[in-house]
Symmetry: C2
Subunit: 209 residues, 2 copies
Amino acid sequence: MAGIKVHGSVFSTATQRVFASLYEKELEYELVPVDMKAGEHKKEAFLSLNPFGQVPVLEHGDQKLFESRAITQYIAQEFPDKGTQLACPGKPIAPLLVWKEVEALQFDPPSSKLNWELVYKPMFGMTTDPAAVEENEAKLSKILDVYEARLSQSKYLACDSFTLVDLHHLPNINFGFGDRLSRKLFDATAPHVSGHNGQAEFQLPDRLG
Amino acid sequence: MAGIKVHGSVFSTATQRVFASLYEKELEYELVPVDMKAGEHKKEAFLSLNPFGQVPVLEHGDQKLFESRAITQYIAQEFPDKGTQLACPGKPIAPLLVWKEVEALQFDPPSSKLNWELVYKPMFGMTTDPAAVEENEAKLSKILDVYEARLSQSKYLACDSFTLVDLHHLPNINFGFGDRLSRKLFDATAPHVSGHNGQAEFQLPDRLG
């Protein structure tokens, strides 16, 4: 079997999304660390892997992929019989397609902005902007109302089993927001979303401990 | 065959994306107009179809879908033998997965903002913000540099045939930006992107003429 290489950073939620899929599929891989503090992702060697200058990049044999959600879909399709199935066997495809887009286009933008304000900025010694936090908390809160309704009818977002759709959320939820927001938004206002997260707890592979 | 209903607006690029896929697949459908000026998409009847209150929604038999790119994928998968194939038969799946994400997460945000400033705001009698135009033109211009490089190696974005990935771009490019930006960004700086657009020209179905 061709080896798998992930070019990325353990601090990047997009890279963590790919780790999560490899972990669920029980696949071995080599991590090639990209030093983002040194701007390595904007230099020529990395740009030849991803012209947009963003981690992660996956190499598998002669296939090179960027965009974390393209990589997780590739892994799920390429290794259907390994580890967790991450699909809705025997069920209509429509909810999986819909909720995959919802994560990327509705949930991710305010979540990523909150991570930037509440996790990354403090990590880089920068000052959190309270107005940006408030704005994106309000946006995310409305989205979580929809999730709460969905998850009171369906065990997971796409169907009654854990899929790529759920997996795509994990890095933003678990790495993310700092304890403050997780507790406030998830436990208090969205018990089903919160329980859902509890059931599918995201852990970085031990080897990255 | 179960009938297809599209709830949406001909002025919405997301709805146009769905029209384009139905057009390529040569499928008949019923358009259920949503009066967005009257805020119909934020009222209960529509929210029961899409809790996020956005057009379009597709109904096909007992399947109900929202998110335009989920709908186009559903149509492509549900009707593989109709009209244009919209895939890369016999080719690796990786580029299709990658460039599908690129459209949604890289190309669309600045393109949609430019459409808002240059097309929708004037349509609604609102004033275009020149700073927002400049910022998003700069972002889109960098993205089109990457597209130009890609399209000088590959006839279309995912492979040498026209796919869903190319189709997803059409409403923003064709409806969009006003002539000024199209000419400036596409014809002048990105001849392959421009030619690409020319080859796959987007037309609203005659029935909506």
